[in-house]
């Protein structure tokens, strides 16, 4: 199926390997940079990952200007402004974000503040509003899931107004993404499972949403096949270098797919679960993915049926809808397996959601931007119904 119109863009250079971090100073040279501002969180520092980065710099003529390790799970405007000031004080010329989505979001936010010359970025919210060229940014993900090393969005919490500000711009893409198996080696099994399911959700939603297109289908398909091969392995044995690098690649591929063709109702519901009940993003996606796919079968059985083959299911000349149900049950099987080996919850009730919060989650979900790209319209009642099934 060729969409009426679509766009695809990914200007990120990708380095992938067991020692890929060593090449960061060389990449800075190509970018014309000399002094990097490392943006990270305390957990990453405690896991010894910044030491690996320091070692890479020791062999080069490039410098780390400052290590900003104050990133919190949610990036905020206060943090972004603080980082921007430090960046200028320390005379840095590029960002090196080492961490999950929020380290990248914080670096992106500070980058906007510096380039646009304002400490109030509220007015720059929206799509393609940022007009100034941003400073180069290098992204080193330390979990395999968000795919934010190849996305053009940043979400930053506004503390005064109590709202989440969303920015999307082609200028927000990092210049380089560095996938190094050592950087995800210390992620515990349950988090490995949850983030891996986030990546699977990105790939499956990209493959089944309204902007599904031939280019992103390729990325989504490759991601799903890697996840099928490596997710359980990485959860069972965190020291499995090949599985870790495989999952890092899967997460990046899924990131390219969904940042172009977008996601759908599973993400809308997961964002709402996060907002209302603080359910971690990967866990919410994992629980809701089979239910979201099942809901969408009514309008797009074909692409959902095709997913079963990528997950290793056989195609037995069934009706499209039956084959699509095979996909749903394969995803459920995977969840069951991850639950047994890592304790990943498979129901909302086991993920800290109180039943009386479901209506609030449903109303937040229908206002989530991701829902605009779902192939089926989802009303409040239908969202509530899906949540009840997942409960």
């Amino acid at each position: 199926m060729i969409p009426h119109y679509y766009q695809h863009f990914c200007p990120v250079k990708i380095l992938s390997g067991h020692n890929a971090v060593s090449n960061i100073p060389f990449e800075m040279d190509i970018l014309g940079c000399r002094r990097a501002m490392v943006v990270t969180d305390k957990g990453v520092v405690d896991a010894g990952l910044i030491n690996l980065v320091r070692e890479a710099f020791a062999d080069s003529d490039k410098e780390i200007g400052y290590v900003f390790d104050e990133v919190l799970p949610d990036s905020s405007n206060r943090l972004v402004n603080k980082l921007a000031k430090l960046f200028e004080k320390e005379k840095c010329d590029c960002f090196l974000a080492v961490g999950g989505g929020s380290a990248l979001d914080t670096a992106k936010g500070a980058n906007i503040v510096i380039s646009e010359g304002t400490d109030d970025i509220l007015l720059l919210q929206g799509n393609e509003i940022i007009k100034k060229e941003l400073l180069p940014m290098i992204a080193v993900p330390t979990t395999s899931g968000t795919g934010s090393e190849v996305t053009k969005v940043a979400v930053i919490y506004n503390e005064e107004k109590n709202i989440k500000m969303a920015f999307a711009s082609d200028r927000l893409y990092p210049r380089v993404a560095v996938l190094d198996s050592r950087m995800t080696m210390t992620v515990p099994p349950k988090l490995t499972a949850a983030t891996g399911m986030d990546a699977l959700t990105h790939a499956m939603e990209a493959y089944t949403c309204m902007q599904k297109n031939p280019i992103d289908d390729v990325f989504a398909r490759a991601a799903i096949e890697l996840i099928r091969k490596y997710l359980v392995r990485a959860v069972e044995n965190g020291k499995d270098e090949e599985a870790r690098l495989g999952m890092a690649n899967a997460s990046l591929l899924a990131g390219i797919a969904f940042s172009n063709s977008m996601v759908g109702m599973v993400h809308a519901l997961a964002h709402a679960c996060g907002g209302v009940c603080h359910v971690p993003h990967g866990i919410a996606n994992a629980i809701l993915l089979p239910h979201g796919l099942e809901f969408n079968i009514q309008s797009i059985p074909r692409p959902i049926a095709e997913l079963s083959g990528m997950l290793g299911g056989s195609i037995e000349f069934m009706e499209e809808k039956e084959q699509a149900m095979v996909t749903v049950s394969l995803v459920k099987n995977l969840l069951g397996r991850l639950n047994r080996i890592s304790g990943l919850p498979v129901r909302l009730r086991d993920a800290g959601v109180a039943e009386d919060k479901l209506p609030a989650i449903a109303s937040a979900a229908i206002n989530d931007g991701a829902l605009a790209f779902n192939p089926v319209e989802v009303s409040y009642d239908e969202a509530l119904e899906v949540l009840k099934k997942a409960y």
Binding site: P3, H4, Y5, Y6, Q7, Q125, G126, N127, E128, I129, I163, A166, C209, M210, Q211, M262, I366, N367, D368, G369, L371, A372, F373, P375, V376, E377
Partner: protein
């Protein structure tokens, strides 16, 4: 015969002033469609309870605008009491602006040939402002479309065409009857 027609069309299109003329026509079409869409929010709001329910939770004074880039027409609307008021043509300090990239992106949506959800998905609309509020606006646009467009078009334009009851059809009739006077009122 077909050949002659094709050649004539090509000849017209190669005339010096044709692209500029075509662009003027597109501008006029967009502008006219927006002149209907603006007042339609007021009229649909008056007759359709579902619309009023949808905007119940909006903060008073929320202003949003629809426009066509780079220099096309624009309209601004505002939540006021239990309705959405049409403030007229142009950008009047909106909180949220939905901008079509160009006339070609805007026309199918404004003419009721393609849906706003499709335009969002295809990157034909750029959003300035709060995304969650944009989703609420999109839902209201869909309700307006459902009452403004003939049934056959809503099937194509909306992800899910609403099941209209007899009451809804009566309301649709009222919307049609009220629309032209509302447009005229805003013109004078």
């Amino acid at each position: 015969m077909g050949d002659v027609l094709k050649r004539t069309v090509n000849l017209i299109r190669s005339l010096h002033g044709f692209p500029a003329f075509q662009s003027k026509v597109k501008h006029m079409l967009c502008s006219t469609a927006l002149s209907f869409l603006g007042p339609a929010f007021e009229v649909v709001g008056r007759h359709v309870p579902e619309f009023r329910k949808e905007i119940e939770s909006w903060e008073e004074g929320r202003r949003f605008a629809l426009r066509v880039l780079p220099k096309g027409p624009a309209i601004t609307l505002e939540k006021s009491g239990d309705m959405i008021r049409y403030l007229g043509k142009g950008l009047k300090s909106p909180h949220i602006t939905l901008s079509f990239k160009n006339y070609d992106s805007a026309l199918p949506v404004l003419m009721g040939i393609a849906g706003s959800h499709q335009a969002f998905a295809e990157n034909r609309i750029l959003v300035e402002g709060d995304l969650a509020k944009t989703m609420e606006i999109n839902r209201v646009v869909n309700i307006v479309n459902a009452y403004l467009l003939p049934g056959i078009a809503t099937k194509k334009v909306l992800k899910r065409a609403p099941k209209m009851t007899l009451r809804d059809y009566i309301n649709k009739g009222k919307v049609y009857a009220g629309l032209v006077p509302a447009v005229v009122r805003h013109l004078i």
